[in-house]
Amino acid sequence: MRGTWPLILILFALIGLPAIFLPMSVWASVMLSGLTLAALFFLVASGLSLIFGLMDVINFAHGTLFMLGAYIGWTVYQNPRLLLNVAPLFLALGAGIGFGRVTAGALSVPRAISGFGLVGFGALAFWNHNLGKLVAFGSTVPGGAIPTPLAQEPLGLVFARMAAMGLAGLCGGWRMGGTRSEDRYRSWGMSAGLLLLGILMLSGRELIERWILESPGDLRFLLAVLAGTLAGGALGAWMEATLIRPLYARPIYQVLLTLGLSYVGVELVRVVWGPGNYTPLPRPSLFAMPCLASSIGEWLSQGCASLNVLGRPFPTYRLLIIGVGVAMWAGIGLLLRWTRIGIAVRAAVEDREMVEALGIPVRRLFTGVFAMGSALAALGGVVATPFLGLSPAMGLEFLLQAFIAVIIGGMGHYGGAAMGAFLVGLARAFGDYLVTVGIALPGMAEAIHFSPAIARASTVLIMAAILLLRPSGLFGQKTG
């Protein structure tokens, strides 16, 4: 197999050497920590790699999707009021764009008017909008804090904002121009669906909020995961279809665009959620009890927060993260291997034109893969919050590690992304271990401690080593 030798060397350095020098219990817990990080890196790296492989787009905004997934999930769980009041505005925008595009051909509104409308209605929609009242996070604890009239704007006003956003979207849609005739019914249907969803969310905002906050934590967590993942997927599909699609022929512009979007994302999060860090989300009940289980059976029956692994406690929630990572890795792998869509994706990575010439609409494949990759990253973000909390910087941090993973594995290679994430995760975990505990060589009085910078640099060093041996990564054929 290609790339076997460098891989064996690195695996030995990361798994074999520590196994020789460290006590078994320490080795096992560092390995598990490494796998936890690897699972999160994989969720970001897999989409990054698939998107690059299929459409040659380096999506610098992928970390932002991870972060937005986390914030949206957190918000559904802790402060649904924010989403219930803001999401309908964006749903109306989307619906407006859809309606605008299907009617663009028939109406042919002058561009000056539609442009003016877009900006004008957009500004009107957020005129004097008091985000602060909605972001009063922590004020809504389970079972308590049902919204008072003061804490959010009156229903009529929000509906008015929604209408303005819809009109802004309509103008935007007119500017973008017509949809293809066979897509027309789908466009009508989707736009109407979005609008209806927005109206339902808004009219039922108090009921929905009360229902979410009074639900058991596990259900809220599940809702958070679903909402975060779906929002990530929808955002990805929207990004591809509107922003990236016109730029396929201009790679440099694409880089600028996605890089720019990543900054917009961070600033957006700062504006809406504030610049501070948030504490981790409560864990689901299976991982929450303050006890130390001595066996897997005991953990599963009592829901302990930690599990005794060879004499050292290990947080059980991280096993969930590992599980999600492994499940997604296997699921997407099976999808790529066995389904028609999967075969088409692999074929299009090789030769897009030929796939198209077989009668398969590659455009739709692009949107689908972009959405799926974005959903995976967002899912990673949501499941990471009980472990890492939230901060506006988390997207960039994960993007960087995921990039390194993708480059190590070979750009565009799915299995490579998994292997890269695995190596980067392990390297980070051992690096962190060396920083906190240090390493004692025989005959030395004191352990050598490493600086945290070295732990962070370790992944880059591995990348450099692998690129020296194999310039296109472990499994890569394409060079970026």
């Binding site: 028609r340 692999r346 074929a347 090789e350 030769d351 030929m354 077989l358 455009r363």
Partner: protein, 235 residues
């Protein structure tokens, strides 16, 4: 006239280069038509323009009465055109079976036609689970043609199937194409005049992005001067 495919004054630009400078021809149903011309005459560009892989800047391309110009490639293919590009553009990382499966336009296409396809290309049946990249050059060409036979196509565009193949294999591939011509109209680009002299009913001769002559194949084969002048062949 029952034309399967009719091009009228088709112009194609690649970047700023004017490559097709008004290509016009009609291809009759139930025939194998050879598209001939020297290197760089614009044969491949013509096929790619028909498939919508290069946009035609001007002119009309009608396939069984439908205008193709301006449509996206996947729609053109779905109308029933099978394209076998030059250089055997198979998916090397996919197995032979996956290559064929991907060409299905309706569920069960492959199952319906497998027997016929494997009777044309027995080699492929034995190699179904092999990555296509590991096939020999001849087998790859057979796969590229077989892929165009999976769905129900009403026209095949085949670009230089004999390119880079040993004479034995050329014969084998041409024998298969010979059997295909009974089933479906074919527009065949081929440099190897010898290989198709008994295969083609009609010829279309291109030079510098234009069609210079067309007619029954026998007419071309009988005219030494044209063969020499347009194809550089001394027959």
């Amino acid at each position: 006239m029952d034309a399967v495919l009719e091009l009228r004054d088709v112009h194609t630009f690649i970047g700023s280069f004017h490559i097709l400078k008004g290509v016009s021809f009609a291809m009759r149903a139930g025939s194998l038509t050879a598209l001939l011309g020297r290197n760089g005459a614009g044969k491949t560009t013509t096929l790619r323009t028909i498939m919508g892989l290069w946009p035609a800047a001007q002119g009309s391309i009608r396939f069984l009465g439908e205008e193709l110009r301006g449509r996206p490639t996947h729609e053109i293919a779905a109308l029933g055109i099978g394209y076998v590009p030059e250089h055997r553009a198979i998916f090397r990382g996919l197995t032979v079976e996956e290559n064929l499966k991907l060409a299905e336009r309706r569920r069960g296409d492959l199952a319906r036609r497998a027997e016929w396809i494997f009777s044309l290309f027995p080699d492929l049946k034995a190699a179904l689970k092999k990555p296509a990249g590991l096939l020999s050059g001849g087998q790859q060409q057979m796969l590229a043609i077989a892929r165009a036979l999976v769905p129900e196509n009403r026209l095949l565009l085949i670009d230089e199937p004999s390119e880079g193949l040993a004479p034995m294999l050329v014969e084998h591939v041409m024998a298969a194409i010979h059997r295909l011509r009974e089933e479906v109209p074919i527009l065949l680009v081929e440099q190897n005049l010898h290989a198709i002299r008994h295969l083609a009913d009609h010829y279309i001769l291109m030079e510098d992005g234009r069609v210079v002559r067309s007619g029954p194949m026998a007419e071309l084969l009988g005219n030494r001067e044209w063969l020499q002048r347009y194809l550089g062949v001394t027959a």
